[in-house]
Every structure is written in C-alpha cells, then in structure tokens.
Amino acid sequence: MGFYEKLMSLDRRWVYLCVAIAVVLPFLLEEFGVPIFIPPYITPEVKSVYNFVEKLREDDVLFLAIDYDPMAKAELHPVARAVLKQCFKKNVKVIISALSQNGPGMAEQLISQTAKEYNKVDGVDYVYLGYKPFPALVIMGMSQNFKLFFPKDYYGTPLDSLPMMAKVRNIKDTKGVIDVAAGSVADMWINEGAGRYNYPLALAVTGVMAADYYPFLNSGQLFGLVSGMKGAAEYEYLMEKGGYMKKEEFDASRGMPIQMFAHIVVILFIIIGNVGYFMSRRKKS
C-alpha cells in the first residue's frame, strides 16, 4: 500500500485519539495554568447587539427578557450576564422580566449577584419584574403598561413606589428589548411584541434554534442575534476589548477552544482523506 492509499484508510482509532487530544488538551493546559484563548471571528449580528448597548447613554433604560430555564443555562447565561454587566458599568438602567416557568429564581440569582458587583440598587438602577404565565399576553401587556401584569415587582414592591419606573410606563418608553430565550417565547417577542408595538428587538438564542431566526434578521425585524455558546463567546470578546470584562471572567469563551480544536480535527481528517483519494487516483491514471 502506497502512502496515499494509507492516508485513505487510516485506522479510525487515530481519529479518535486526535479528537480526544483536542478535547482534553485545553483542560490540561488550564490545569497547568496556561489557559488558551483564541480571539473569535466577530459576526455582524453579535456586533450590532453590542453596539446597541454601547450607544446607550447614562440613565437610558434597556429591557432585558430572560426567557430560559436552567436547562439552557450553559448556553444562555453568559450573554445575559454580559449584557447586564455592560449596562451596569455604563450606568444604563435595566428592566428585567423572566417569562420561562422555571427561570425566575435563576434570573434573580444572576441579577442580584451582578448588581452587587457594581453596587447597583434595586428599584433605582434596575427593576426585576419576575414571572407571569401566558407569555404572549404578558408581552403585549408590558408593551402597553407594565402595571397591567406587574403591579408589583418580583420582591413585592409596588411599581408606583419605584423611582426608576416614574419615567417608563411601558416597553415603548425603553430604548429597546434584548430577549435571551430558549423556546417559543422568542417568536412571541417578534410577533406580539416588536411586531405589534414597533420597538427595537434583538435575540440571544440557543445554537439549535438560531437557524430559525436568521430570516427575521434579514428582514430587519431583529437588529441583532446572538446564537448559542459561540455568539456568547463573541460577545465576551467584545466586552473584553471594550474594557467591560477581564479574561478571567470569561464564561462561554472557555469552552470555545475545545470546540475550535475539535472542528479543526474533523476538517483536517476530511482533507487528509480527500488528499489521499485524489493523489492515489492520479497515480493510477
């Protein structure tokens, strides 16, 4: 068997070995204190979400919808956290809702933790509305008046008594909505929310869902889209470049080297196989 034929019929255990190395290597390097970081390619749809928040001025209000449950935490938590950090650092005010049934507790943890980091006060710098069932209805309601479904916030304080809510009556009074969602709530924000009441909307969704939402990006119904772990890693990188985040705080980006290496391994083996195929065919002819 010639060299090229051998390239075509490598024992598959070599492939396994390379995949194993690609996955284990980043862990080992981290163990020895040399974490790898490869700057990702920044897609325009993530960049536009970042820029949107970046352009907000002090005391502007952003609406952040946290519509996922702990099942999708690994993929979506990093984006939600990054957006919150960016806002808090810029002194942008945030209103947050959590319309996924098992999500509110998790969202509360994230918010109070991040707020503590930046010394932000509930009711002054941010408001957490919490959960109400029937998301489509709640979204329409919030677009008209927050008090319709949330006379009180998550902690039981009447909205009227929150200084921050004096200026904002409904979502249209905010600068826009960033919805971090796993599941059909994203569709409801597009159709029932931004579609009816016409405010800027961006989505952050899981990797599996992303393909379904690109058409909305093209048609202009969304101004940005962050898809899964990869989008989150891009966002974190932008945050780092903008000085909002340190590399040690990275969350999604830590998993990315593994993904990159594994993808490179797969592509390399496809190339090896094809080089072997073409060269051995050329030799024959």
């Binding site: 075509m8 490598l10 598959r12 492939v15 396994y16 390379c18 995949v19 194993a20 996955v23 490869i38 700057p39 990702p40 390619y41 897609t43 393909a211 690109y214 058409p215 093209n218 990869k230 990315m256 993904q259 990159m260 594994a262 993808h263 490179i264 391994v265 797969v266 592509i267 083996f269 496809i270 090896i272 196989g273 094809n274 195929y277 073409f278």
Partner: protein, 216 residues
C-alpha cells in the same frame, strides 16, 4: 378469523379515531382520553412480555454455559435487582408506595445515578468520536453529490474557526445555506414524509397492507 377479525378491529378503531379528531364535543373528548389510556395500559402489560423475553434469551445462554455466559448472568441480575429494590425493598410502604422510590439515596436511585446514567451519557458522548470518524470515512469527493455534502459540511464547521476575512464570507454563506436550501429541503422532506405516512396509515387501516398481522 384469527387474522381477519384483528384487521377489522384495526379498521374500526382507526376510522373511529380519525373521525374523533374533528369532533370537539365532550363525549368525543372523553373517548379520546380513554382510548389513549388503552394504549398506555396495553403498553404497561406488554412490559411483562419484554422482561420475560430478555430473561429467557439470557437464561438460555447461562444454562447452556455458552462462552461468556457470565455476562448474561450480569444482565439478569441487574434487571432482577432493580425490580426487587424498585418495587419491594426501597419503597417499604406496602402495596401502594406512590412515588417514594424516586427519593435519592435509595439503592434504586443510586443505581440509576451511578450505574445507568454514566454508561448512558458516555454512550451518548461517543458520538463526538464517531462524528469525526464518519466524516473522515464518508466525505470523499467521489461524486458530485458526495462533493456537495462535503463542502457544505465544511462550510458550516468553519464557522467556529476564526480565519479573518474568509470568516466573513463563510459566515454569510453558512447562514444562507441554513435559511435557504436547508429550509427548502426540510419543508420538502416533511411534506413528502407527511404524504408517505398518511398513505401507509391508510393502507394499514383499509387492510391493504397486512403483513404485520401474522397468519392463521
């Protein structure tokens, strides 16, 4: 009769359920819920058959001491152990133990967490290796079709690898593939599958296809 009558039963129950779908009234609703329970209850009793089959196949090997019969014994013991702790030992509340067997720390749940789940998740994660070896083995540009398959797969995978300006074009191409040809193929497959499924269902209900119902 042993074959015709069951096929008649399929016909009647099939037509009945198909019509029921268009009737919103309360009796129809009751019938639908009741019929779904039939399916569940028959399935539960059938589990007895399944366990019997698993035991028999393995027990024959143990009895004849065919090579590797020890492993077959492991299967039987594992199954019997789970049944015993799950139904009798762990709940410890007599005949109607409710959901007590789900309590963590019991033998039943420990076996689930530390024996069943690790093996199951590892089997699942083997896919990471297999997806690489399958790509290596199958993605050869032998024909036009194989080349298309290979190129699109690479375009999609390259999204994750930063390549400067190339990434920009690649990203656009990948998104286009996902929202145009990918979407079109999915819709066409689903519509075709829908027609195929209904045709198959009609053939069964009307008794044209009866190869599954045995002989007299």
């Amino acid at each position: 009769m042993r074959r015709q009558l069951p096929i008649l039963v399929v016909f009647i129950s099939g037509i009945f359920m198909a019509i029921q779908y268009f009737v919103p009234s309360e009796p129809a609703e009751f019938v639908q819920e009741y019929a779904m329970d039939w399916v569940i209850v028959i399935g539960v009793f059938a589990m007895g058959l399944g366990l019997w089959s698993l035991t028999k196949v393995n027990w024959i090997k143990v009895q004849r001491q065919t090579p590797g019969w020890g492993y077959n014994l492991v299967t039987i013991l594992g199954m019997v152990f789970m049944l015993v702790v799950g139904l009798i030992w762990d709940p410890g509340l007599g005949f109607f133990p409710g959901e007590k067997s789900q309590v963590s720390g019991t033998w039943f749940m420990n076996f689930f967490w530390y024996i069943y789940l690790p093996i199951q998740t590892v089997m699942f994660s083997l896919l990471a290796f297999y997806i690489a070896s399958a790509a290596y083995r199958a993605f050869r540009a032998r024909t036009i079709l194989a080349s298309i398959l290979l190129v699109t797969a690479i375009v999609i995978m390259l999204r994750l690898i930063p390549l400067g300006a190339v990434s920009g074009i690649n990203q656009w191409l990948a998104n286009w593939i996902l929202i145009v040809p990918n979407m079109a193929a999915k819709r066409a497959i689903w519509m075709g599958v829908g027609l195929g499924m209904v045709a198959m269902a009609l053939k069964i209900v009307l008794g044209i296809e009866r190869s599954y119902m045995g002989r007299d």
